[in-house]
Amino acid sequence: MTPNPLALIAEITHRCPLHCVYCSNPLQMVAKQAELSTAEWVRVFEEASRLGVLHAHLTGGEPAARADLEELIAGARQAGLYTNLITSGLGIPEARLPKLVDAGLDHIQLSFQDSQDGPAQWIAGAKGHAYKIVLAEKIRQLPLAFTVNLVVHRQNLDHIEEMIEFIEQLHPERIEIAHAQYYGWALKNREHLLPTPEQLDNCMRAVESAQTRLAGKARIDCVVPDYYARYPKACMGGWGRRIMLIDPSGRALPCHAAGVIPGIQFDSVREHSLEHIWQESAAFRMFRGDEWMPEPCKSCDRKTQDFGGCRCQAFLITGDATATDPVCSLSPDHHLIEIARATAAAEAPQPTWLYRASVG
């Protein structure tokens, strides 16, 4: 029996004022005219709640690019979901913030690109750092859970201590230090983003020291990036096990990146119920369980912990979506990761970024 999903990632738009070089959106993005309507999203939230989903993560692109964000939050909350807004803060004028709270928002996760204006603008390909600081102060005055998210990588890890101190001044309850993950735009820019082993060691030490210093004030989450881990991450808690992602046009995917795997038909919420898609669709069943697994996964006792790792990463790196995730030290393709790490350890040239594109 398939367990019900616990979280719905609602990618409500791909429109975004930022162009972050590590954006997790697909290279092929959905245009505004193809986006689901307000009523369609509200129906999705109601169906999700009936299916046992607890959390709705409203994300993008920049979710505030939707003029009906308040209605979407209210729809999710009225459906009984915990509502989480993942935002750059741009597109939320100060006056809009209380309206989001009134609509029933539970938690806001605000992303920063750096502690300093110049580097933040360089990574985001747009201005916005100063406004994020203003907005953070306003958020803190509202009855919301508040998380600050910071993506870290080769170009900013040399001042990780300073960045954590900067975030501390914004007084969030939670701090997420997220290592860039190499999908979409980030994979295109990987050689300039992948940290060196020394940067990673220093980062983990800095995080540990901040965790002790901030205990009881802010909880800090940071995991070793999978390129440097011995075993793969349990991507999305396993394919089709806990999480369902709906893209701006209503396609249901098991994760952000699954669209890169060729030959999968993703059903749309415009044509099928969430329950049908979760239980019956070929896309969600494709890598569920362990039938599909090759060796060394199939006989590995870690297969119930990491589920063979990430299917999209396996495809992006080896060309075969059914391969063992190459970040696993037991993978026959692991040398491809070792080469990427060795490249990162070598002297790096000045980055020439491929910035995330705009979408109309």
Binding site: L6, G52, L54, H55, G80, Y82, N84, D106, H107, Q109, P143, L144, A145, F146, T147, E173, R174, A215, G216, K217, A218, R219
Partner: protein
């Protein structure tokens, strides 16, 4: 932040709330939920921002009769502090 004082008035942190999942009470917070049963649930239900830790201990001492109030105070303090560090509770 240290352990709660007997005069502290614990309550769920902003953005953390009770809900029902699979017919059982759970506490929802940004990254997930806690399925909470038994004494833990009883303690957390008493954390309404009004009652002090001392009053919560009195309620529990009455309910569990023989238990030593000093021991209960100690156990409740440890429990609340752990939830506070997860930023699910404030006091």
């Amino acid at each position: 932040m240290a352990a709660p004082l007997p005069t502290s008035q614990p309550h769920l942190a902003a953005g953390c709330r009770w809900a029902t999942h699979a017919d059982k009470p759970v506490v929802l917070y940004p990254e997930g939920m806690i399925r909470i049963q038994g004494t833990g649930r009883h303690i957390l239900e008493l954390c309404d921002g009004q009652r002090t830790v001392q009053q919560i201990v009195e309620v529990l001492a009455q309910k569990y009769g023989a238990a030593d109030p000093a021991k209960i105070l100690d156990d409740v303090g440890t429990f609340l502090e752990a939830l506070q560090k997860k930023r699910i509770l404030d006091y």
